[in-house]
């Protein structure tokens, strides 16, 4: 099976500072792929390179077996959708209008949506739980509601690959698990390849088919959650003391943070 994403020798500098160094990995089509790593390890940069928002300087990215530099902006947008951490909204668009924008790469020259486009948008709003907000102004919603609207917009784009940058950060517990379940459903039912940046290692361990751990712009480890959620490796990469055991739900590794007072007590003994 052809990989949905193949990255080779990817190196990226920002103002002369290396952000990514010699990164290489593959994402099989129809998998849930989660990128983890400390702040500043290059996760968002990697995501932006994958969706063509940053110029590719060194290395190679293949999307669905084609070199990413060969895609036009429009043809790329039909294959891949992107949900950034936050989107500044200066104009009073309604939720429906924002979600419908996801149809843009599929529309004709003048960019008017038809009945079918509107139906796709309504479905996307229903499965992300924002249909009751359809007529509201986006800039009057809470951060978590806005986040769900932008996820609905990305789903409305009907991509084969969906990239999300910390989508659960602004969501409460119930919507976190609903979002992750929804991603799993998109993967299972429609074969969408989901690539997500996340800070939540436990969530990542429970949902990901593959994990990529980045550290200072390099691949620290790539593999199944059992292979990557390794306490010695994570302690080294994150620079703090951790405890890893198994989730009561099954064979998922579970990470615990250890407060300083426990360490002090342990040292005293």
């Amino acid at each position: 099976m052809q990989p949905a994403i193949a990255v080779q020798n990817l190196t990226h500098d920002f103002d002369g500072q290396p952000v990514l160094q010699d990164v290489a990995f593959e994402v099989e089509a129809g998998r849930f792929f989660i990128i983890i790593g400390p702040n500043g390890s290059g996760k968002t940069t990697l995501l932006k390179l994958l969706v063509g928002l940053l110029p590719l300087t060194r290395g190679k990215i293949d999307l669905l077996s084609h070199d990413i530099t060969r895609y036009s902006a429009r043809s790329l947008a039909r294959q891949i959708a992107y949900v950034p951490q936050s989107v500044p909204v200066e104009f009073p668009f309604s939720v429906t209008q924002i979600v419908l924008m996801g149809r843009a790469p599929h529309l004709g020259l003048l960019g008017f949506e038809g009945e079918e486009d509107i139906e796709i948008a309504h479905k996307a709003m229903a499965i992300t739980g924002v249909d009751h907000l359809a007529r509201r102004r986006l800039d009057q919603l809470s951060g978590g509601e806005q986040q769900r609207v932008f996820i609905a917009r990305a789903i409305c784009q009907q991509p084969r690959i969906l990239l999300l940058d910390e989508p659960t950060a602004a969501l409460d517990l119930s919507y976190q698990v609903r979002l992750m379940d929804l991603m799993e459903r998109l993967k299972n039912e429609q074969g969408v390849t989901v690539v997500m940046v996340s800070h939540d290692l436990n969530m990542a361990a429970m949902y990901a088919d593959r994990l990529l751990l980045l550290s200072k712009g390099k691949v620290a480890r790539l593999g199944t959650p059992e292979q990557v959620i390794d306490f010695a490796l994570l302690e080294k990469v994150y620079g703090c003391t951790l405890l890893v055991d198994e989730s009561p739900l099954g064979k998922y590794p579970r990470v615990h943070l250890v407060p300083k007072r426990y360490l002090d007590e342990y040292m005293d003994r």
Binding site: V51, I80, E90, P92, L110
Partner: protein, 328 residues
Amino acid sequence: MIRRLLLVTLVLGLLLTAAICLGLAAGSTGFEFFEIFKTLGGGAENSLMNDIIWRLRFPRVLLAALLGATLSLGGMVFQALLRNPLAEPYILGISGGSAIGAIIGILLGLARFPGVWLAAFAGSLATLAMLYIMASGRTMLRGNSLLLSGVMVNAFCSAVILFLVSMAQDNRLHNIIFWLMGDLAAATNDKVLALALTVIPCFGVIFARSNALNLLTLGNDMARSMGVSIKAVTSLLLIVTSLMISATVSYCGLVGFVGLVIPHMLRLILGPDHRILAPAAILGGAAFMVICDMLARTLPSQGEMPVGVITALIGAPLFVYLLRKSNK
């Protein structure tokens, strides 16, 4: 969607038609509605009245309509591209740059069309380039720094204009101060035709890219991820907008606030979708300017005043009111 577009176009189209009738009827001796319908119906025996309406008022009203449509649409484009509802060609200094170009063109003795217009276009592009460099590099679309740069560019342009005017002592600049505040008095049918042929294709280009404008309001990254080629679309829109703005500046001088007030007002009523807003801004801006010009002609007991005085008198307070209301 399309039905809404048609409805908005129809309503604003009727408004514009009414404004044009009012503009044609308004004369130095009051309103002459009866004569207008007789003349338009082709049944007028009075050939003087015929001449006044077709040779004087008709081109003037159409010139006002084209001017208003262009400024209003230009304001809308800048607001979307800069993601700032306060952006406008006049405030950014783009109009001022065109005016410097136009004055240099007049001093060089170039013809209004295409000489002065091309000089004005060069002036507006130079201002855009200056703005670009001042707001510096990586993202020229970063809202506030660009707006502040615009204020400076505008102040500088005004100084250069006054410098040129006071140094020149030239007969050709006799009416320059009047022209700077917006002058529609010299309208002829030929001029109107030339201006129409310049700006109407620009309207078409902007309308065709109006959905890209929607996506661009969410930022370059979002727009690009939804298939907009940022560089191509942004430069196309900036050039087309400068082109039409400089054309109106070289014919009508500097008229401010239309590009600020009309799109802002329409956005409050119709929402921010640029596919609806673009035609609405064209028709609404045109109707607004025709009315302003009618007031400029009829209000003074002797002669007339520059139309820019009226737009600023109506526009500035209205804008402050709208701003307060939308902040609440």
